[in-house]
């Protein structure tokens, strides 16, 4: 009896496995069947124009970081570029691989670079810690001839973070600046005006605190988040040139003006201006604090602006968020109208490309770095263009935050970049350690400056 029961159970199990296998086959068949008609018209058009030569299909891997709700506008642009490029190059199929930004930048891409098998096209950050390191090791495609071939010479606003020894190794997708986003409704209710001076900023923080609202939303689990604010404070207190000066030895972390920036951060920390328990909070949590009204301000990059016009994400706060840049600080060195500006994130390409893949890469660059896509990035995603656009095109911007950001950029004396792109990666990781120690109250501002200068001096001596 038992044996036959077992036999029946086994038979049922085997049958379900087989059937499940069949059903998934069917499902995938259905999928492909459903997909083919959609793709066909796009693929057939160019095939008709060209000779009816049999096309060898080939794939090109593409790593992007446009995942999650906040990135959906940027992803839509990428999808269109992919579609256009596939239509243009017969046989081409992109294999999209979406990976979270930090995982890609700090885990996946470095490992792939070490193994010399990065994707053919990938999201890349500029500067010493990323693009320059890979370029020196010969992993990145030299784009200088392609830029010339496509007639893009001089079209980019700033390629500094991707240019090494006169050669360009990556193309920024957009520009950004960092500043304060604030809840306009809350500010009006509490009678606070958008701060135009440092005193007003601190007074606003005090008022918010008195009303049991966290003045500045912060998520410091990833130290790059508080480092954005720290970076801007350093640029204000020690002057815009200081960011480039650390690696060249002309500026010192332990100097009184840089320590003054750390001291201000420490003071704000002690005053309770940041979210409590920030060391356990992720970057995304910071946005939630502002959106849910727990915090009044948030220091973040201008790339965040598209969230505040999207009802799905911003909910009640849609269109009610304003932006201002870090006001001039008392006794700050240098031009106080400078902004923290970056053209540091974009795409890089593998040096190891076949002829077909190179053609695909060129078409991808042509389609992605076009006036049309740059303008779409600006209008839909609120990302500042990395290429020169006509005044007519720029005048189409309606988003109030983007308008403010563009005004700030226009009226600024210039831009200083983020120190993660100028200092050596050995030093950068110590800045991450020190800012978290400062937040936890384990070290003083002077100790942070001294520790950093020690590592900086060692790195400069190498």
């Amino acid at each position: 009896m038992k044996k036959s029961l077992m036999l029946i159970i086994m038979l049922i199990l085997v049958a379900t496995t087989v059937l499940a296998g069949c059903s998934s086959n069917n499902a995938s068949n259905n999928n492909t069947a459903a997909n083919t008609p959609k793709e066909e018209p796009a693929k057939e058009e160019p095939a008709k124009v060209e000779e009816p030569v049999k096309v060898e299909p080939f794939t090109v891997s593409l790593r992007h970081i446009q995942i999650g709700d906040a990135q959906k506008f940027r992803k839509a642009i990428l999808d269109d570029v992919v579609k256009n490029t596939e239509a243009e190059i017969p046989g081409l199929k992109f294999e999209l691989d979406g990976v979270e930004d930090q995982v890609n930048r700090f885990t996946k891409l470095p490992a792939e670079m070490a193994a010399a098998n990065p994707p053919k096209i990938f999201d890349l950050f500029g500067g010493a810690g990323d693009a320059f390191k890979y370029a020196k090791a010969g992993r990145l495609l030299d784009l200088t001839p392609i830029i010339q071939e496509l007639g893009m010479d001089g079209k980019f606003l700033n390629l500094g973070q991707f240019t090494l020894d006169g050669k360009v190794y990556g193309l920024p997708i957009g520009g950004s600046t960092e500043g304060f986003f604030y809840n306009q409704e809350m500010f009006t209710k509490l009678g606070i005006n958008a701060p135009t001076s440092f005193e007003e900023l601190e007074a606003a923080a005090e008022t918010l605190k008195k009303n049991n609202i966290t003045p500045i939303a912060m998520g410091s689990k990833g130290a790059w988040v508080p480092n954005m604010l720290m970076n801007t404070l350093v640029g204000r207190y020690a002057g815009p040139d200081v960011v480039n000066g650390f690696a060249t030895g002309t500026a010192k972390w332990s100097s009184p003006e840089v320590v003054a920036a750390f001291a201000k951060y420490e003071e704000w920390e002690k005053n309770g201006y940041f979210t409590k328990g920030e060391l356990g909070l992720e970057y995304g949590d910071m946005l939630n604090q502002l959106l849910t009204g727990k915090a009044g301000m948030m220091f973040d990059g201008s790339w965040r602006s598209s969230v505040f016009k999207d009802v799905e994400q911003a909910k009640d706060l849609t269109g009610k968020v304003g932006y201002f840049s870090m006001p001039a600080v008392p006794d700050g060195k240098g031009d106080q109208t400078y902004v923290n500006g970056n053209y540091g994130n974009g795409y890089g390409f593998s040096a190891d490309l076949s002829e077909n893949e190179l053609t695909a890469v060129k078409a991808f660059i042509k389609n992605l770095y076009s006036d049309e896509m740059q303008l779409r990035g600006l209008l839909e995603d609120g990302v500042l263009p990395s290429m020169k656009l006509s005044d007519d095109a720029l005048a189409k911007v309606e988003d109030p935050i983007v308008k403010v950001v563009m005004d700030i950029m226009k009226n600024s004396g210039g831009a200083f970049s983020h120190f993660d792109s100028t200092i050596q990666s050995d030093v950068y990781k110590v800045t991450e350690e020190q800012i978290q120690l400062l937040i936890a109250g384990r070290i003083s501002a002077q100790e942070a400056g001294d520790a950093l200068q020690k590592v900086q001096a060692a790195a400069n001596a190498k």
Partner: protein, 293 residues
Amino acid sequence: MKSTLRNPTVYMMFILPTIMLYTLFFIYPMMSSVYYGFTDWNGLDNTNFVGFDNFVKAFSDANFINSIKNNIYFILFSVFIQVPLIIFFAILIGGVKRFQGVYKTTVFMPSLISTSIIGILWGFIYEPEVGLLNNFLSLFGIERIYWLADPKWALLAVLITNAWQWMGFFIILILAAILAIPKEINEAAEIDGTNGIQQAVHITIPLIKPIISVVIMLSIAGAMKVIDIVLVMTKGGPIGSTEVMASYMVSKAIRYSEYGYGTSLSIIIFAFALVLTAIYQLVFVRNQERIEY
């Protein structure tokens, strides 16, 4: 047939494929790891032989020393808090007459759940504002604790989660040993007038000593190589307060591409684990008598 089996070439034919696979996937990677531990390999630039530099650097690296300390906390917590609790619960469940199966399944359940899920689950429990734990503690007027964000509490929070995950597995191991003790021994003791506690202390525990020592050894080995729960819950933060040797090794090798240094750290971890378990074997296990019922 007999003569075929006596032929050494036949043996070789059977074992060669396995040895080849073993060499390819174990011996070769292990040997190359040892080699890379003595280099400054970073994946991109030329690799140089640096002798014992990496090892010297490791023992003067305050962050690594801190992670060793945290590993020691893991070991102490599992040996002195987890193991006694495991024995306590195993004895309790062993004494249950009805629904023993339900209890067994319930305590075993956490070991079946993936660490990522456990990390997220306990993340909710530890959530400072609306989390279960703080809500419960607030009933007693205890102020909000930032479990995973406060360097003072984060390690304890991870230790508790780790214990919760693995206790069930060890409870089942010990329970099996308890249930294997012949009933007559306890019955005889009962007739002699012993109570439950006396039976547990004087009969059950001495009889399951060998399995307890296995559990302790497994706990030490587990605590030495713990990493997954740390990566999922805190990534070693805040400010290194939950960093363990393995997570520090991963962060050095993967996050900062110091593959050479990372490899040397992994050799150190291996050596530590080997020495600790060897000491434990020599000191405790050797001295035990074989128990036969």
